[in-house]
Symmetry: C2
Subunit: 317 residues, 2 copies
């Protein structure tokens, strides 16, 4: 699997692309849209003056608009890249300014709640194609983006029933142009799948880092020193953007609680195995889980380098 | 902080080093002992004929002995590198063959149980300095080792009361020579510290990977495809050696259950915040956990590269 983006497109997929919000995802879209010629022109806006200023300094857009309403005026494709909780307000604000036939999309990690929040604000004649690029790092803000963030990652589209095929195709082409694989599913299935592959993993990572921080018998300095025993892997995920993740749990409550319930049941069974010294039960689970990682590596979704390739030096002596 | 081992020692720290068990840790010790001249001679043994054969092929030792008893005969320092559960049997076997003044050490992730298992089998005049290098990867076996595994990692020594200072100093010098920082603490404190920085993180990683494997509403293929949302980080830890980890939980039961209890309490509170839509509570926890990662990176225990540096291509365009 090539680890580089291919040649830029000969003709852009959209005329004007508007990015509402320029954090890790928004800035990465700007980078890849530029490099791959996915849009003829990029307009961006962000809530804070500081971010808008930084977007200008970084040259991420052809134009930085002062508000969402002004950003979308001439846009063919509008991608909402703010935290999920901000979408209702943004949709209400941009609705009256959209040009006829515009396609609105987003990048939210939750889809059912986003559709409920955004769709009512879009006038007839507009298209809504919700999207979720399953990619990210623990960094946030306009400086965190890079063009290859979406390369070989999956982007899930969850168009509501009745969405025009041409609009779906355009959003699909955009993400394919960014290097992603695209899959279409319902919003409710998306929310269940992501609850287990993303939301609950984040929750338990945040949780164990919090537990470790609150201990009295073990000092913070000890937790930090001896983190290479496994703990440090969790701190990466637990360093993700707090606003984004608060919104994810507030807006995907039911699926997150359902998957968390499964996790808790299974953990109780494991706890019981430890208490009663059931070595066979522990060994069986610990063996079974290896296969999934092998598949993830085989599918190109993960590095095969031991310890994530943390060891810089040549490992063979 | 240099990411390479320094120059080899002019004179070795020990004459003959015996390694009992040659998995990831044992083979890494062999590599670094060779490269840094930590031992004049290395004798190794392993339980299975296949592993002993592989150790010979890889040239990891000067001599491959057919049994622990024969491996320790001329050894000045013996390091037990088998899974924790095998130590009682090995200690009983080597006891009668140790030469006077020999130092026995180990690399187990659990210390209280190892001391209880090994100490009674060592004749008077021998020294026992239990050690735990807090380092590893998800790979196992004699092919998995490399010389820089212990570089900048911590090695914890837990000598029982009354252990001779000269023996402790020798083991300390050995690990310092391997590039590690060394700390001394009691076995019971070690077991508590590692329960939170290593054992519980492994348990919850194994657990969530198991939960995801058992779902009916979400297919295995979907879990694999969309694992980049966070799940894949957990699969690395959940691919660790099953025998080793079974033994850890069987031999550090009380501390693991204590820390797991704390984790569960905290998770119940988080679950409640989600159910009742307590955005402020979620945001506060998610903010607090970022600081720990910054400290781990500042202390040189983790890479600062976003997403563990998974993105191979130049990230600036």
């Amino acid at each position: 699997m090539p680890d580089r983006l291919g040649a830029p497109l000969e003709a852009p997929i959209v005329g004007t692309l508007a990015l509402i919000g320029v954090g890790l995802i928004g800035s990465s879209i700007a980078h890849v849209a530029r490099r791959q010629n996915l849009a003829a022109r990029i307009v961006a806006t962000a809530q804070s003056e500081a971010t808008r200023k930084r977007v200008k300094e970084l040259g991420l857009a052809d134009e930085v608009a002062p508000s969402p309403g002004e950003a979308v005026r001439d846009a063919d494709l509008i991608i909402l890249c703010a935290p999920v909780g901000a979408n209702t307000g943004i949709a209400a604000e941009i609705g009256p300014h959209l040009q006829q036939g515009a396609i609105v999309s987003d990048v939210g990690s939750v889809k059912g709640a986003v559709i409920a929040a955004v769709a009512p604000h879009l006038p007839p004649g507009m298209h809504f194609v919700p999207a979720h690029p399953v990619a990210g790092t623990e960094q946030s803000g306009p400086d965190a983006g890079f063009a290859t963030l979406f390369l070989h990652r999956w982007c899930i589209l969850t168009p509501p029933e009745g969405t025009e095929a041409a609009a779906i195709d355009k959003v699909r082409a955009f993400w394919t142009g960014a290097g992603s694989n695209v899959e279409v599913m319902t919003a409710s299935h998306h929310d269940l799948v992501l609850a287990i592959t993303s939301h609950v993993p984040h929750l338990i990572a945040y949780n164990i880092v919090g537990t470790a921080a609150d201990l009295e018998e073990v000092t913070q300095a000890e937790v930090i020193k001896f983190s290479a025993g496994g703990f440090r892997d969790f701190t990466r995920i637990a360093a993700s953007d707090p606003t984004m993740w608060r919104d994810v749990f507030l807006h995907n409550r039911d699926a997150a609680l359902e998957m968390l319930g499964r996790f808790n049941e299974d953990l109780a069974a494991l706890q019981r195995m430890i208490r009663w010294g059931d070595g066979e039960g522990l060994f069986n689970l610990f063996t079974r889980t290896r296969a999934i990682r092998r598949s993830i590596i085989a599918e190109g979704q993960e590095t095969a380098a031991p310890d994530f390739g943390r060891h810089a030096e040549d490992e063979l002596d």
